[in-house]
């Protein structure tokens, strides 16, 4: 449900940012990881060059590598199948797969969730993009606020401890403060450095970096 709505919001935002319907749909079909897609169209709308815009989207997508790592143990797919499964390695499929009790149900959960979301995400993207073209000036409808609201909704559950809040606070200051002085798209990449910076500071404060690491992934070997 939430995915369908974000898909629609993405279609509207992307078309409102000046991308064509074809470009918008290509993003959902080929990229298929929401936060990266929102980041890319936001960066392009802000006048960023394609390389810095893609870099920001790429860094947001890096978390999927960690999902893939967890999933590859649970799914135990033959190597030949992995390139086909890879496109579906996202937040939602990982959450569903991790919640399954047996390998069979992990595979079914992953496949059903992946297929359903892929179809839903792409259909709603198309509807959103067509809708945005039909209504014309998306700003008058307040639709330019959909992007930041989606980001905030994704961010809010992550702000669990002081560390996360410190990273977010520093990133906001860097992202806004550097905006007028650095080329478009670059301030977001600099703001990403808030993550290693806070980790480093935390490690220094505790004297030993490893003690600062919190392992919130449950250990399971199946």
């Amino acid at each position: 449900m939430a995915v369908g709505l974000s898909g629609f919001a993405f279609g509207v935002t992307s078309a409102g940012s000046g991308l064509t319907v074809l470009q918008t749909c290509a993003l959902s079909l080929l990229v298929f990881t929401g936060a990266s897609q929102f980041a890319l169209v936001g960066a392009l709308a802000g006048g960023g060059n394609p390389f810095t815009a893609a870099a920001g989207a790429f860094f947001l997508g890096v978390r999927n590598a960690f999902y893939g790592l967890r999933l590859s143990q649970l799914l135990a797919l033959p190597r030949a199948v992995r390139p086909f499964a890879a496109q579906w390695v996202i937040d939602e499929t990982t959450a569903v797969a991790l919640a399954q009790p047996t390998r069979r149900s992990v595979r079914i959960g992953f496949t059903v969730t992946g297929l359903t979301l892929y179809v839903l995400w792409n259909l709603t993207t198309l509807l959103g993009a067509l809708g945005a073209e039909a209504i014309g000036d998306t700003d008058a409808w307040g639709l330019d606020a959909a992007g930041p609201a989606v980001f905030l909704a994704l961010l809010a559950p992550m702000l669990r401890s002081t560390t996360e809040r410190a990273v977010a606070g520093i990133a906001v200051v860097l992202g806004l403060g550097l905006l007028p002085v650095l080329p478009a798209g670059v301030p977001v990449l600099v703001a990403a450095l808030a993550a290693p910076a806070v980790l480093w500071a935390e490690g220094r404060r505790r004297g030993r970096t490893d003690a600062g690491a919190q392992d919130d992934m449950p250990e399971e070997d199946r």
Partner: protein
């Protein structure tokens, strides 16, 4: 053309990181520090992107109707509203403020 370049790079990059996770041997990224960094990177990026998309017009910082919309979204999140309500609150408040202030 620039947009297609950006789409191509993002598609290849995002697919590659997904595939890397499935292909590399388990344990390679299991170091706590790496896991921690991977969890914090989206926090930094999403925070910076939220702020920029709400308070920037091109390369200028502005305070306009979007700020009110974002505040409405924040209130909705604090009230544990579902995703749709959060986004709808932002959109409606932004449109409302714009309509009132012309």
């Amino acid at each position: 053309m620039n947009i297609w370049i950006a789409i191509g790079l993002t598609a290849v990059g995002c697919y590659a990181v997904k595939l890397v996770g499935l292909l590399i041997p388990a344990g390679a990224l299991e170091r706590p520090l790496v896991q921690r960094l991977a969890a914090l990177l989206p926090v930094a990026l999403l925070a910076a992107l939220t702020a920029q998309q709400a308070f920037a017009d091109g390369r200028e910082l502005v305070l306009d109707a979007r700020a009110a919309g974002l505040a409405a979204a924040a209130v909705a999140l604090l009230l544990r509203a579902p995703f749709l309500v959060v986004v709808a609150a932002a959109v409606l408040v932004t449109a409302g403020v714009r309509a009132l202030t012309g």
